[in-house]
Symmetry: C2
Subunit: 404 residues, 2 copies
C-alpha cells in the first residue's frame, strides 16, 4: 500500500515551507537570526492575559468559555472589532465580522470560497509566503498584481481565461508588507480598486501589520476607500483580514475578517464545516485585553520596534557594501534586501550560517515562480538592538566575501 | 456586482446546518431541549483549567504559551497522547500524532487530503452531520458504508468509477456513534477493515465519544486491530481522530489525529497552510489537565452521564407509544429513535415546539440524501434528570397526538 497514492491532486502543491524547515535549524543559541517573523515575547501583555483568563474561567463564566460557541465568533469581540473597524474608516456592524483562528485561516477559507482549480489569483511578486501556501490548496494560477502597470484588464482576463479560469481576486498587504516592508500610497490603493473594478474581481486586503506604524501618516485601508466611494459595505469587493498576532499574541490564534455580509455569511458556513468555531476562551480573553488597552499596548510595541528598525537601518547604512539595496519600512517587522544580479540568497544563507552564524530568509521563497533569487528578508522584531548591530556587521562581512 | 457569482463551485454544497439553525430557536428558557450535542458545562474541570492557565501564563512560560509554535503541536501533549494511544492498543510515538483544532478540523483536513471532486466517501446512513459538512467542501460522492452487506467490493468500486472517481475512504464512528448511539462489535470492526482492504481505501475512525462508556466491555479501536495484524503503524490505512471536546472541554478546540507518518506528514503541511498551528496556550493547558487526572475526570463524567442515559431509557420505556423504536447506547450522548414509516421528524419537531415546548433533532439531517425522515436524535448529556423525565413525557404526548 502506497499511502500517498490516495492523496488528492491538490496535495502535490502543498510543500514544506522553506522558512519552516529553516527555522528548525536555528535552535543553536549562538546564531543571530533575522529569519523569524515573530513578535518579541518579552512584549506580550502576559499579566493582562492572566487576569483575562482568570475572569473567563471564573465560576460565573466557565460554562461559556469552555463550551461550544457559534461559528461567527464571540459577540463582544465582534462588537469591539466593529468599533475598531469604524475607527479605521470602515463603519460596520458585528454582522460584518467573522472571527478566525488567526488571519492565516482567513486566507485558507477565502481560497476555499473563491478559487476553483485554474482560477487566477493576482499576488505581489514577491508576496506573503503563507498566502501562497493557503491558496495553493485550491490549485489556482498566480499572476502578477501590478495595478500601476501597463497591462490592460482585458489582457489580464484573457490570460486567466486561457489558463482555464477567471481572475477571482487580488491579494495584497498594503501596510509594511511581509516580506518587502513596502507601504502602498493612497493613490496606489485607489489604483488597486480601479483595477479590481475593471477586472470585476474581489480584493483581499491583508492588514496583519497595520497597527505597527513607526512613522508617517496612517493611510486608510483599501476597504475604507471603497466604502467611502460606494456608501454600502455590502456592495464592497474588498475583504479586510485582521490579526491580533502582531499586537496582542500570535499563540492565541485570533484573527478576523471584515467584509460584505454575503461574504461573511458564506465564510461562516466554511468555518462551521472547517472547525466549528475558534476557541471560545481565547476570544473572551482577547476581547478582555483588547478592551482594556489595545491602543496603549500597541503604542508600547511601536516604540520598541521603531528603535529596532532604526538600529537595523543605521547598521545597514554602516555595514553594507555598495551594490546592495534595501527598503526603509515605515512599520511592520521586515526589511527587504536586493543583492546584485546573479547572487543567490540561498547560497548566501549557507555561507552566512557556516562562516558568521547569522541567518535570514532567502527571498526566492516569497515568489510564486523562480524569480527573486537575489533577494532576502531581514526581520527586526525578534533580535534585540545589540544582536541587530552585531548581526548586520556579520552579514556585511558575508556579503563582502561573497561579492569579492 | 453579485458577490456570490464569484464563489467557487464547491460552495453550492456548503449549506447552513439544520441543527445550527434550529439551535438559534432554542433560547427560550421554558423549552426542554434534547437537540444539543454538547457536554454539561457544570462538569467542566474549570478549577484545573484555572491552575493550568495560570501556569502556562506564568513569567516563565508566557514566552512559549503566547508565541507562535510548530504546526505538529505542543510536544508534551503529543507525547501524552502517544501514551494514551498506547493504552488504547495503538503503541506509537509522538510523530504519529498531529494536534488539530478539534476533531472537526481533522475531518476537514482529511477531506482536503484525500478527496478530489467525484471521489467516493463511504459513510453510515445516517452519519455524523459535521463529517458530511467537512467532506462536502471537496465535492465527493457519498455511498453507503455497509461492510456487513452483500455488495462486492468490485461493485462498490465500479459505482465509484462510474461517478468519476475512486473510493478514497470509509468514515465511521465505532463507539456510541453520533447520531445513532450504536457501537460496532469486534467482528464488525474486522469487517470494516476487510472491506477497506478489498476496496484498497483508507478508514477514518472518528473516536469522539470513545471515552464515554457506561457499560459493557471496551472494544479495541479499528486502528488497534489493524496494527495488531500488520505490526507497523506506518503500514496502517486506518486514521484515528480523537477529541478532548467530550471529556475536558469543547470550547478549547483540541483534537488529534493518530496515523501512519506519511498521513501525519502531509496533514502537517495542510495544517501549516490552513491555520499555522492550534493555539499554543490551549495545548499547554490541556496537556496539564490531561496529565493531572484525565482518567479520574472521565470516570466522573461517565457516572453522571450514565445516570442520565438510564433515566432517559426508563422514561422512554414508560412514555413512548407502541410502534416507536429506539437504540440503547452503551455510552456517548445520544439515543436514536425510529418512528413508524410515513411520519416526519421535521413535522413532529414543529408540533413538539408548538404544543409541548420540547425539542430534538429530526434525523433526516444525518443522511446524505432524503432518507431517514421518520427518525430523530435525542441528546441526554445536556438536560438534567428532572428535565429528561418531563421532556420525554411531553414527547410521548406529542407522538401519541401525531399517531392518533
Amino acid at each position: 500500500m502506497q499511502i500517498d497514492s490516495f492523496f488528492a491532486a491538490r496535495n502535490s502543491r502543498m510543500k514544506a515551507s522553506e522558512i519552516r524547515e529553516l527555522l528548525k535549524l536555528l535552535d543553536q543559541p549562538d546564531v543571530i537570526s533575522f529569519a523569524g517573523g515573530i513578535p518579541d515575547p518579552a512584549l506580550f501583555p502576559a499579566e493582562k492575559f492572566r487576569d483575562a483568563m482568570a475572569d473567563a474561567l471564573s465560576d460565573q463564566n466557565q460554562g461559556l468559555s469552555l463550551q461550544y460557541s457559534t461559528s461567527e465568533g464571540y459577540p463582544p469581540l465582534r462588537e469591539w472589532l466593529a468599533q475598531r473597524m469604524t475607527q479605521l474608516g470602515v463603519p460596520c456592524g458585528a454582522d460584518n465580522i467573522l472571527i478566525t483562528s488567526g488571519s492565516q485561516q482567513a486566507l485558507d477559507y477565502l481560497g476555499k470560497l473563491f478559487l476553483s482549480p485554474n482560477d487566477t489569483a493576482l499576488v505581489g511578486w514577491p508576496t506573503y509566503l503563507g498566502a501562497l501556501g493557503a491558496f495553493n490548496a485550491y490549485e489556482p494560477r498566480f499572476d502578477r498584481l501590478d495595478p500601476m502597470g501597463n497591462r490592460a484588464a482585458a489582457d489580464v482576463q484573457a490570460d486567466a481565461a486561457a489558463a482555464g479560469g477567471k481572475v477571482k481576486f487580488s491579494y495584497l498587504s498594503p501596510d509594511f508588507a511581509n516580506p518587502t516592508g513596502i507601504t502602498l500610497s493612497l493613490q496606489e490603493r485607489q489604483q488597486v480598486l480601479a483595477q479590481a473594478e475593471a477586472l470585476d474581481c474581489m480584493v483581499i486586503e491583508d492588514a496583519a501589520y497595520q497597527s505597527l506604524r513607526y512613522e508617517g501618516e496612517e493611510i486608510p485601508p483599501i476597504l475604507s476607500l471603497e466604502l467611502t466611494e460606494k456608501g454600502d459595505l455590502d456592495q464592497c469587493r474588498t475583504i479586510y483580514c485582521g490579526s491580533f498576532s502582531k499586537t496582542l499574541s500570535p499563540g492565541l490564534r485570533i484573527g478576523w475578517v471584515c467584509a460584505a455580509r454575503p461574504v461573511i455569511d458564506q465564510l461562516v458556513l466554511l468555518k462551521q464545516a472547517g472547525d466549528l468555531h475558534t476557541a471560545t476562551l481565547n476570544q473572551m480573553a482577547v476581547a478582555h485585553v483588547a478592551a482594556d488597552g489595545f491602543e496603549d499596548h500597541t503604542r508600547l510595541l511601536c516604540a520598541h520596534y521603531k528603535a529596532r528598525r532604526d538600529r537595523m537601518l543605521a547598521a545597514l547604512d554602516q555595514h553594507m557594501p555598495k551594490g546592495v539595496e534595501w527598503t526603509r519600512p515605515e512599520g511592520g517587522m521586515f526589511v527587504w534586501m536586493t543583492l546584485p544580479k546573479g547572487m543567490d540568497g540561498a547560497d548566501l544563507l549557507a555561507a552566512a550560517l557556516r562562516d558568521e552564524k547569522v541567518a535570514f530568509v532567502p527571498g526566492g521563497a516569497f515568489y510564486p515562480d523562480d524569480d527573486g533569487r537575489n533577494t532576502l528578508r531581514l526581520n527586526f522584531s525578534s533580535p534585540n538592538q545589540a544582536q541587530i548591530d552585531e548581526g548586520i556587521k556579520r552579514l556585511g562581512r558575508v556579503l563582502r566575501a561573497a561579492m569579492s
